[in-house]
């Protein structure tokens, strides 16, 4: 058991355990915190897979933006949800059954593909060149500029759309100055 394997088992266990706690926590704020731990665990796994840029982007986007947004919305939509009502639907066993069946199916499917038994990853030719290549490929006309532009426009649409949807019910926004 090498050090890398130990680190992977530890990180993978933490990530999976945190994911389980997300779906089993009765209190939403705790679930959001476990989600943050799970996302951080995924970032560590990205570092293990030598995708350092993606790890930092994962922390910056998921933890610093999405998770904080989820926590803020949890605070804004708080009700007497904390006591009394359960957090689980009536037919939760159907959900658990389908998740287990899916997991089993995925395992069987993975078993049929022999290539996944690769033990050591092939070496990366030039690690520094990769990051520059990533930047270039996103704006290269022959490569990925189209998904990049479409994703930018989609983000713009999401930005404008969410502002319009979450506009307050009254016509005047709160906190306006005397302009």
């Amino acid at each position: 058991m090498t050090v890398t394997q130990l680190v992977f088992l530890l990180t993978g266990g933490v990530t999976l355990g945190a994911a389980l706690m997300v779906v089993l926590s009765p209190r939403l704020v705790h679930a959001a915190l476990w989600l943050i731990l799970s996302l951080a665990g995924t970032a560590v796994l990205f570092v293990l897979l030598e995708a350092g840029f993606l790890a930092v982007v994962q922390v910056a986007i998921y933890i610093d933006a999405i998770a904080i947004l989820i926590i803020i919305v949890i605070m804004l939509t708080r009700r007497v949800m904390i006591r009394g009502e359960t957090q689980i639907t009536r037919n939760w066993w159907l959900g658990a059954l389908s998740a287990l069946i899916l997991f089993g199916g995925l395992l069987i499917l993975l078993d049929m593909v022999p290539i996944i038994a690769i033990d050591t990853p092939p070496p990366i030719a030039d690690a520094d060149q990769l990051l520059e290549d990533l930047g270039r490929s996103l704006v290269d006309v022959d490569r990925f500029i189209l998904p990049f532009e479409v994703a930018s426009i989609m983000l713009l649409a999401a930005l404008i759309g969410s502002i319009m949807i979450a506009w307050p019910l009254t016509t005047r926004a709160e906190g306006e100055g005397d302009q």
Binding site: G95, A99, L102, I116, P122, P147, A157
Partner: protein
Amino acid sequence: MIPLSWYLVLAAGIFCVGLYGALARRNALAILMGIELMLNGVNLNLVAFWRYLTPNFITGQVFVLIVLAVAASEAAVGLALIISIYRRRSTVVAEEINMLKW
């Protein structure tokens, strides 16, 4: 050292846990958190395949970046919708938002 299958099994596990969260929780925010877990599992899968099969082509990482962008915008719009629904119906429990049911 670490076989590819370990990463894939872990990603499948996270995906299935997220699926359970999206199916079995009543609060709309908890469902959203389950969806985020599913997208997380997918990202892990993509990066593992990139590293072990085509580490010299950057296509895998570009795929992950696009999935991240999609996840971010979907979370933003979803949360705006939840806030709007809460303002009008005073509830975020998914079962009680049923005006369109027959």
